[in-house]
Symmetry: C2
C-alpha cells in the first residue's frame, strides 16, 4: 500500500493525501475526513522509517521579534500573523530583547519547532555567511537589510525602508524650517544596524546643508525603550540647551523625549521641534501630534510573508523590497523661532 | 517491538521516549538523539494506527487575542510567550478584531493546530455551557471572567482584575478631588463584558456618593480603538461641556480623549481631569502623564499560563485568580477648580 494507492482509493491527488497526512490546513474538512478514513481502513503507514513518521513536515513559520517593547513591531506583527495564516501556515512567535541574538534564537526555534521558514523582525545589519549558516530554512529580514554585512543578494531576503535616506529626509525637513542646531536621539552610533544607518542619514543631511556636525548634540539611549530615551534626553538637556530641533530615530523615543523636554520647561514645538520615523498609532494622539515619517507596517508585513512563502514553496530566490515612508506632518515641528 | 522495549534499550522511562517521539522540548538533546538512534535502528513504529501516527500529540498552546490594536494586550502577550516557552510548550498566536468570536476562533485553532490548551486574551463575559462545548481542551479567560454567564466555577478558569470594583475605585478617586460632573467614555453600555462591568463601577461610585446618573455625560465608542475614542469624545463635547472630569475605561481611549479635549481648547487637568484603567508604558510618557489604575500585565500573563499548564498536565481543575491594580497618580487629575 503506497500513497498512490491511497490517492487512487480516495479519488484525489497524491499531493492532497500528503497535505492531509502532514496536517496542512489547505484541505477541506470533507476531503480530510475521507482521506483519513481510507488511511485508517487500510492501516496505511505514511512513510517507511520511524524518523520520517515522527518528523512529519510541519507548517510552522517562525517569527523572532527583537525588541518586544517596540510598539511599531506590534503593528507589523498583527498583519504578519494574518498573512501567515492566510497562506496556510502556522506562525510560531518568539520574542527576544533588543540585545538578543536573533540568529541564534531563530536557529533554536527552527530546530525545536521544525520550521519551514523564518521571519526576523528587527536585527543586526552585518550578517556574514558564517552567521547565517545555522539557519537551514529561508528567512526574511524585516525592517532591516544587510548594509554592513557580507551576504550576497541571493543569500537572504529583506523588506525595509531606506533607513539612511529616510533619516536624511527627516532631518532635511527640519533644516527646511530654518533649524541649524539639530540634536539627535539615537540608540547607538555604531550598532551596525538601524541606529547607525539613521545616524548616517542625520550626518549627511547636515553635511549637504553645510552644517558642521556637533557631537555634543548627539545622545545615545542604548536601547529603543521609552525609559532609556527619557533619561538620555535628560542627559542631553543637562549638557546643552543649544538646539532648536531634535531628530529621534523612533516614534517611541520621540514621545519620551517630548516628555523630557516638557518636564525641563521646553515647549514642543515652540522651543524645540521634534521629528521622528515610524508612525505608530499612539503618536498620532500625543500632545502635540508627532511629526514623523510613517513606515507602512501592513505593507512591510505583507511583503515579508509573501517573499518567505514564495521561497518556502520554491518560487523565488533571495528578494529585496524597499518600501517608502509617508510624511505625517503632525504638530511637533514649526519654523525656527527668532 | 513496543515503546517499553525502546525505553529499556535506551535506559530511559517510557514517558521520556514518548516525549521524544512527540517532539516535546522538555528532553535534553543528548537523550533525544540516543532515543532516536534506537528508534531508527529498530525500525520502531511509534503507534499502531495511521491516525495516531499522524496525530502525534502536539505541544501547542493557542493564544487568541481579541482586539489586536489594544496596546495593553501587547504587554501581556510578551510575558505569555516567554512563560509558555519556559513551560515547554509552543505558543500559536491568532488575532481577531474586537467584534470577533474568540470561542469560534479558539475552536478552529484547536482543531487545526491540535492544541493542548487555549489562552483567551480578551473576550465576552457571558459564556454558556453550549458556547464552550466546542472547546475540547482546557482554556483560561485572561483579563475577563464570566460575570454575565452561566458557567460553573469548575467549568472554566480566569485571571482578571475586579473590573466593576476597580472602575468604582477610579471614579471615587475623581469624586475625592471634588468632581461631581464626571463624564464616562465607554465601549458599550451592554457589551456583557469589560465595558459593561466598568460602566457598572462608574454608576455605583456615583450612587454611593449621592450623585445622580446623567446619561448625557456617557459616550460609547463602539470599540477600544483610538480613532473611535477620539470621535466619541468629539461627539460628547458637541453635546455638552458640562463636566469637570472624565473616566475612560482604557488608557488608549483616555489618551485619545485628552487629544480631543485639547483640540477643543480644554486643558487637562485644569479644565478636565482624566482617569483611566490599564497602565500601559506609553501613557506614562504622554502630556500630561495619564493618571490610571495599572493592571499588572506580567502577573496576569504568568498566572494565566501557570493555571493552563496545571490543567493540561492534570494538576488542577478550573481556577480563578483576581489580581489587584496599582494606582499611578500621573498628572491628568487635579482638584476641581472653582
Amino acid at each position: 500500500m503506497t500513497i498512490k494507492d491511497i490517492a487512487a482509493l480516495c479519488g484525489v491527488s497524491v499531493s492532497t493525501v500528503s497535505r492531509v497526512l502532514n496536517n496542512h490546513p489547505d484541505v477541506s474538512a470533507q476531503v480530510r475526513s475521507r482521506v483519513m478514513e481510507v488511511v485508517q481502513a487500510n492501516h496505511y503507514i505514511p512513510s517507511n522509517s520511524a524518523r520520517d513518521l515522527v518528523r512529519t513536515r510541519s507548517d510552522a513559520i517562525g517569527l523572532v521579534v527583537r525588541g518586544t517593547a517596540n510598539p511599531f513591531f506590534a503593528e507589523v506583527l498583527k498583519t504578519m500573523e494574518a498573512k501567515v495564516t492566510e497562506a496556510g501556515y502556522t506562525m510560531v512567535l518568539h520574542q527576544i530583547g533588543t540585545c538578543g541574538d536573533e540568529l541564534q534564537a531563530g536557529a533554536m526555534l527552527e530546530r525545536d519547532k521544525k520550521l519551514r521558514g523564518l521571519l526576523l523582525l528587527g536585527g543586526r545589519s552585518d550578517y556574514t555567511k558564517d552567521d547565517v549558516a545555522a539557519l537551514n530554512v529561508p528567512f526574511v529580514c524585516c525592517t532591516y537589510d544587510n548594509s554592513y554585512g557580507t551576504l550576497g543578494e541571493e543569500e537572504y531576503s529583506s523588506v525595509s525602508i531606506d533607513d539612511e535616506q529616510e533619516a536624511c529626509r527627516a532631518v532635511k525637513s527640519l533644516i527646511g524650517k530654518g533649524h541649524r542646531r539639530i540634536a539627535a536621539l539615537i540608540s547607538a552610533r555604531n550598532d551596525r544596524s538601524i541606529s547607525e544607518l539613521r545616524y548616517g542619514g542625520y550626518r549627511r543631511a547636515l553635511k549637504e546643508a553645510g552644517i558642521a556636525l556637533d557631537e555634543t548634540l548627539v545622545e545615545e539611549t542604548g536601547s529603543f525603550q521609552m525609559p532609556e530615551a527619557y533619561e538620555a534626553m535628560e542627559r542631553l538637556l543637562r549638557r546643552t540647551g543649544e538646539f532648536t530641533a531634535l531628530f529621534a530615530i523612533s516614534d517611541a523615543m520621540a514621545v519620551a523625549a517630548i516628555k523630557a523636554l516638557d518636564d525641563a520647561g521646553r515647549r514642543v514645538p515652540e522651543d524645540c521641534s521634534v521629528m521622528a520615523i515610524d508612525g505608530i498609532t499612539m503618536s498620532a494622539y500625543t500632545l502635540p501630534t508627532l511629526s514623523t515619517l510613517i513606515q507602512p507596517a501592513d505593507q512591510i508585513a505583507a511583503e515579508a510573508v509573501r517573499i518567505l512563502v514564495d521561497r518556502i514553496e520554491g518560487r523565488a530566490a533571495g528578494r529585496h523590497v524597499q518600501v517608502d515612508t509617508i510624511l505625517r506632518p503632525g504638530r511637533s515641528v514649526c519654523v525656527k523661532q527668532e
